[in-house]
Every structure is written in C-alpha cells, then in structure tokens.
C-alpha cells in the first residue's frame, strides 16, 4: 500500500512536470529573424484615363514671347494705339535642383537568409470603395529557410498612413497566404495591427521544413477615403 502511495505521488509529480513543461517550452522559442515589407496603396478617386503627365518646357526657365506690332491706320495716326503682349504657352516653370548622398556600410546577416521575401515592397492602386488584389497572384513570396522546428508570425505595424496624415485602417489590408504551388485559401485574412491590437502578432504557420509562401495582398478602400498614397509595413517574424 505504501508502495502504491509512493507510486501515485511520483506519478503526480511527473504529470505536473509535463503540464508545466508545455508553456515553458513555448516561451523558450526565441526570435530568429524579422523582416518588414513596405506596402503602399495609391488611392486615386478620379478616373486615371485622360490624365496627362506634366511636361517640362523644352528649355526650362526660358519663357517664350509672342508679340505683334502693326502700323496704325492713317486715320488713327494721332491716337494712342497698342497691341496686347502676352507670353505664349505655359512655359514659365523654373526648376531648382539639389541632391544628397545616402550611404551605409552593409554587413551580411548570419541569419539573413533564414527568412526572406522576394521583394522589399509592394505597390497597389485602388479607388475609394474598391477592393483590389495584387496581380499576378504569388508576386510576393515569403520564404522560411530553416529545417528545424520554427513558427512564423505576421501582422502590419500600424494603420496605413498618408503623407498628409490621413489613415486607412490596417485591417483594410488582407492577405491570402498559401504554400507555393498550392491552392489559395478561400478568402483572404485581414492583417492584425501591432500598434492597435495589443502589440501582438498573429500566428501564420509552423513547420520543420524549408517552405515558401505566396502572399496575395488585397486592399479594401472605404468609400470615404481621400486621395493619397497610404503605406504601412507588413512584418514577418520567425521564431525557433
């Protein structure tokens, strides 16, 4: 009987140890790599058809003058007479140019290849009230190059913001993420917004093999959105 009691106590400790080990195991995962992809959405409310890019004058800063003078009629010889003078064309633009050198000493990242995207940024264009998906599909990929246990989390850092300070909710941006060469999900999933959703990312996937994901971005622009270029960072974080 005493032996049985000792066995039960030992078994209880083992069960307790197993239960406690699970969260501990989860928390000892450490961040291995994080990448941030710039996503910009050009919201254009007016039809693009008919837009004529502004052309520079043939010789910037040199206005042309069109004028005409004519002899006064004999009957008007003693009257004051003048022709209107005007500058022809819209060639009064003057450009001033300055530049700045931007440089950095770049060193390779030993972990830089374990989480990569094929492009550093994605640009989209949409009108207010429109829903647009980036084409062609799978033009953005995110790859995990790790053959040991890993987990991948995702989200956007902030709401989308324009230079004027106008915002689009980050949840207006959704992703349909699926393994390369696999079938896309039935519908896209809105990104979680780190800055406003409790400073957390959402789990995207986990695995033990090298994997590439297609990320098809979809934006839904509210009808009340003012024109402008809105941007945010889509952030992918790899844990191991």
């Amino acid at each position: 009987m005493k032996r049985l009691q000792m066995f039960l106590v030992a078994a209880g400790f083992m069960m307790l140890a197993l239960v406690l080990a699970q969260p501990v195991k989860a928390t000892i995962q450490s961040q291995q790599m994080q990448i941030a992809l710039n996503i910009s959405v050009d919201v254009v409310g007016t039809p693009i058809v008919g837009y004529v890019p502004r052309e520079a004058p043939s010789q910037a800063g040199v206005p042309s003058i069109a004028s005409a003078l004519r002899r006064a009629e004999p009957s008007m010889q003693r009257a004051f007479s003048a022709e209107g003078l005007h500058f022809a064309g819209d060639s009064t633009m003057v450009a001033q140019v300055h530049n700045v050198l931007v440089q950095a000493e770049v060193t390779p990242n030993p972990k830089g290849t374990i989480l990569v995207s094929n492009v550093p940024n994605v640009s989209m264009m949409a009108a207010p009230g429109q829903t647009v998906t980036v084409q062609p599909l799978c033009s953005l990929t995110v790859s995990v190059n790790m053959a040991t246990a890993w987990s991948l989390e995702e989200g956007v850092a902030t709401d989308l913001t324009s230079a004027s300070g106008a915002t689009l909710p980050g949840t207006a941006l959704a992703n349909n993420t699926y393994k390369l060469a696999a079938t896309p999900q039935p519908k896209p999933t809105p990104y979680i917004v780190y800055a406003t959703d409790g400073s957390v990312w959402s789990g995207l996937a986990s695995g033990t093999a090298i994997t590439t994901y297609c990320v098809d971005l979809t934006v839904t622009v509210p009808a009340s959105t003012v024109d402008g270029i809105y941007s945010t960072d889509a952030v992918y974080t790899l844990f191991n």
């Binding site: 710039n38 009064t92 700045v100 050198l101 950095a104 000493e105 270029i229």
Partner: protein
C-alpha cells in the same frame, strides 16, 4: 568767314525745319488705356540641408524604447547610416530639410528621386528596387520609428547628368521631359519640408558587404 557764317545759319535753319517736321503735332493730344499682360517668371530658391537637427542618425527598427541614433563618418555632409546589417530596417532621423522660397503665388511642387540604383561601391553591384524610403519629420522632433510607414524613393527615368560616384560633392542632377508624381506640394510661395529616411537593407551574401550608396535628387518646380 562770311561764307562760314552763311553756312552756319543755313545749317541752323535746316535743323530747325527738320525738328519741326519730325515733331508730333503737339497741338493735338490723345489719351487711351493700354492693357498690358504678362506672366512673371517664377523665381525659386531652395536649400537642402542634410542632418538638419541635433540628434540626427540611424536607429534600428525597434518597438518600444528607441535606441540612441548613431551615424557613420560621412555625416553631416551626407546621410550616413553607418554600419547596418542585411535584412534589417533602419530609421535615419532628421535626414533632410527642404526650405523653399518663391515668388510664385500658386506655390510649388517638390520631386524627389534616386539618380541611380542602390550600389555597392565595393564591387559595383547594383540593387534595383526600392530600399530607401522617406517619411515626414519635424523641425526639432518626431515620433517616427523604423516601423513608421514611409514612401519609397523611385529610381528616376529622367536624364541624369553629373557624377554619380560615391563621393560627397556636386553629385548628379536630373532633367525631366515628363515629371514623376511629386513627393510634396505647397500651395503657398514659401514652405519647409522635413524628412526622415528609412533603409531596408538588402540581404547580402557573406563577403558581399561593403559601402552601399545612392544619390537622392530633389527638384522644385513652380506651379
């Protein structure tokens, strides 16, 4: 002598007659209105000041408490991020201040583009794509981080002239036949724009690091 005097008198008479003939009939005067129209040629003055405020420099993209900015030896003449790591994102605070004065009452447009692709000066390899971004800052402070959204500098399709070497100096200029989208617009004749930069460092293979550089060219045009 007599001959001379006669000649002189004759000349005076002739000159007087000529003046009378050529003079307008001052007995008759006319008045009228003249409508004169012209376009005043805009005069634009603008200055570009890199590292325009104390505390300029690069910080690694980080949530929460921000590290102190640091910069490379090329600052303040250039925007020098210093040592960066491939795959990471950095914010460069107080990178560029554009101060514009013009006599154009309609204001002006600011264009900003890269003259060349991001280039590794160590092996001349280029990195086409958008790795450098700009975001609004303030004259003396901003709350930007490496995760604050920015907008990319595009590589120009305009005509680049001047040196694009990795040396601070005169640098390149861009001439446009068709202007790109402006990065800023002012509806007033005088204005200031303050920018931070963001650098998404490309992943480079071992041994392929080096001094990366790009020239950013700003063009200001009257409306």
């Amino acid at each position: 002598m007599k001959r001379y005097l006669l000649g002189l008198i004759g000349a005076i008479f002739a000159a007087t007659a000529l003046i009378v003939v050529l003079s307008p009939a001052d007995a008759v005067t006319a008045t009228g209105n003249a409508r004169v129209e012209w376009h005043q040629m805009p005069i634009i003055n603008f200055t570009l000041t890199p590292n325009y405020y104390t505390g300029y420099g690069a910080v690694l993209a980080t949530f929460g408490t921000q590290p102190a900015p640091t910069h490379g030896p090329g600052a303040p003449a250039t925007v020098d991020f210093g040592t960066t790591v491939g795959g990471d994102t950095y914010l460069y605070k107080y990178a560029a201040h554009i101060h514009v004065t013009t006599n154009d009452p309609s204001g002006f447009l600011v264009y900003g583009e890269a003259a060349i692709a991001l280039t590794n000066n160590s092996n001349a390899q280029t990195y086409p794509g958008q790795y450098l971004y700009y975001l609004n800052s303030g004259a003396t402070s901003d709350s930007n981080t490496g995760f604050t959204p920015g907008l990319p500098f595009s590589q120009t399709i305009g005509s680049v002239s001047g040196s694009t070497a990795d040396i601070a100096g005169a640098g390149p200029t861009i001439a446009y036949t068709i202007y790109p989208n402006p990065i800023a617009q002012s509806v007033t004749p005088n204005n200031d724009f303050y920018y931070d930069y963001q650098f998404k460092v490309p992943n480079v293979a071992a041994g392929a690091g080096g001094n990366f550089y790009v020239w950013i060219v700003y063009t200001v045009v009257g409306e």
